[in-house]
Amino acid sequence: MNDTFKKGTRESNQLLYSKLGSIYTVDTNLATSIGSINLERPVMLASGILGISLDVFNRLYRSGAGAVVTKSLSTEPWEGYPNPTIFGLGGGGWINAVGLSNPGAANFAKMIEPNKDVPIVVSLVGSVPEDFEQMVKEFENCKVTAYELNLSCPHVAKVGLEVGDDPELVKQIVSSVKNTTNVPVIAKVGLGTTHYLKTVETAIDSGVDAITAINTVRAMAIDVETQRPILSNKFGGLSGTPIKPIALRCVYEISSKFDIPIIGCGGVSTWEDAIEFFLAGASAIQLGSAIGDNWIDVFSQINNGISDYMKKKNFSTIKEMVGLAKKS
């Protein structure tokens, strides 16, 4: 009972405001690089989470996020699916079918144009290479740290996994984006209907600069009282703690097989999780669902935990940890 209602007793707005004003700092070197992408801190906001406003990006950055990934953007605005779009399983697990709702690349680009401070990774979703090319051009006047190609949304037809599962399309999309921009390009992969390592291989062969693994895993929940699927889209993507062991495995497999910078994503909610991903071969991590359980304080909590761990274990850079578990 208590927990449910604690949320109600919020900090006074004054306090909230002053807290937001301060910038997260830590006394160790948390800098990392994902290929040519250099970040001050290794914990990034995953795509689709709180990701539609520059003001919020600023807030997250000040709270400790090393970079923010935008909601996946399409050429046109999308409303997404009707509610219910998200369902909490408890224990850190979530299923969502937001349906890639987003204001469209052009609107979004206009909104983030004033950005100077925040490392923003622009996530893009589309069905053909032309979609991606067109969107990248929209961002010509923006400070974009990298593009992340969402090849792995498990619950929206014609984009996401339907693209990621088609090697020929992956090749075309990655190549065309690489030809359109000098900004680093990341491919985000997930468990689809073809072997995700094939998708990774194709993306690498086509010149991608880094891999984010993984997206949500296709899943569902049914309400036993009303005997219907809960999400309006029936199927959604499983995220949060349940998928962490799967995501970790993928990072380990990718880093064992390919020489490519990796961003680990899936179920990170503690500093131990982050370290596990580094040890498996990730140079940085992304998180989303943990915010639903621990709010945005999770960024400073994880950064602090990593920092303490590095001190205790005498690591002076994140890099030193990357892939260590493969040596044993």
């Binding site: 109600g8 600023n58 509610n83 909490g88 979530w94 709702s101 309400d223 669902s289």
Partner: protein, 270 residues
């Protein structure tokens, strides 16, 4: 085991009260919702239709809570049409709650924005001196006036209604009444919920005079838990940082009163 607030709980609507031709109150039994704080809301699933954020309405029967819904688009109409015996899903409670000041309070509610005011009233003490303003377009749309008088019977209080067309109570916008009252009286706290323009003007009237004021904001909500971002206003997430913000904070917000985001996340004018 504590109930998981993010896991939909199914409840059966037991009673439907017709408040106006377009507003109904749906009463149900539940363990959690009868005890939420004033201002908290739930995500309400209308199976097969949609899921909507709804302020948790009080019920005068113990162990029960309610939703008071105005029939509008497809989703709210779906909820409006629920009959006794039918099931809906609820998750929450979400959001923060009003900071209740001692002394003389002004409560301002427009339409279903009255819902949090009713729960706020049940959290007051007899020493509170309460003025409740009910704003409505026309006489037919006035509701909760009797309920409010009844709930406030042990308090020094007045319940004033204003209608835009003057068909009942004061003639004109409720915000004009607010401006008049705060300029002529001392208040220790002002609380408002209703259409954004109404909240904006009320906050201006009070805050410019240094009166403590809080408004309960509405934005497009998908998750209700601070994940999806659809409810953002400036750097705040209404579902998580709010829904209640005070005048000081709102006065610095560039979007309050002017913009909201639509389902695609695009800023639109009010």
């Amino acid at each position: 085991m504590q109930r998981n607030p993010n896991h939909t709980t199914i409840v059966t609507v037991e009673k439907v009260i017709e408040e106006t031709p377009t507003v109904r109150t749906l009463v149900y039994s539940d363990d959690v919702m009868p005890n939420v704080l004033p201002g908290q809301f739930a995500m309400v699933w209308i199976p097969g239709v949609n899921e909507l954020p709804m302020s948790v309405m009080i019920s005068q029967e113990s162990g029960k809570a309610a939703f008071t819904v105005r029939k509008h688009g497809a989703a709210s109409t779906g909820l409006f049409n629920i009959q006794p015996g039918q099931k809906i899903g609820i998750r929450g409670p979400y959001g923060n709650s009003f900071d209740i000041k001692a002394g003389k309070l002004l409560l301002v509610g427009g339409g279903t924005g009255l819902v949090p005011m009713m729960r706020l009233i049940t959290n007051l003490t007899p020493s509170h001196d309460v003025t409740l303003l009910i704003g409505a377009k026309t006489k037919d749309e006035v509701f909760f006036e009797d309920l409010a008088n009844q709930l406030l019977k042990d308090n020094k209080h007045q319940v004033l209604v204003s209608t835009d067309d003057g068909s009942y109570g004061e003639n004109g916008f409720v915000t004009d009444l607010v401006e008049k009252l705060v300029s002529e009286n001392h208040f220790d706290g002002v609380y408002v919920c209703g259409p954004e323009k109404m909240m904006y003007k009320t906050v201006q009237s009070a805050h410019s005079r240094g009166i403590f004021v809080q408004a309960s904001l509405e934005r497009m909500m998908k998750c209700g838990v601070g994940i999806c971002g659809s409810c953002c206003i400036g750097e705040d997430l209404v579902c998580h940082d709010g829904t209640i913000f005070d005048g000081e904070h709102l006065s610095k917000n560039k979007e309050f009163g002017y913009f909201h985001r639509n389902k695609a996340g695009i800023l639109e004018n009010y």
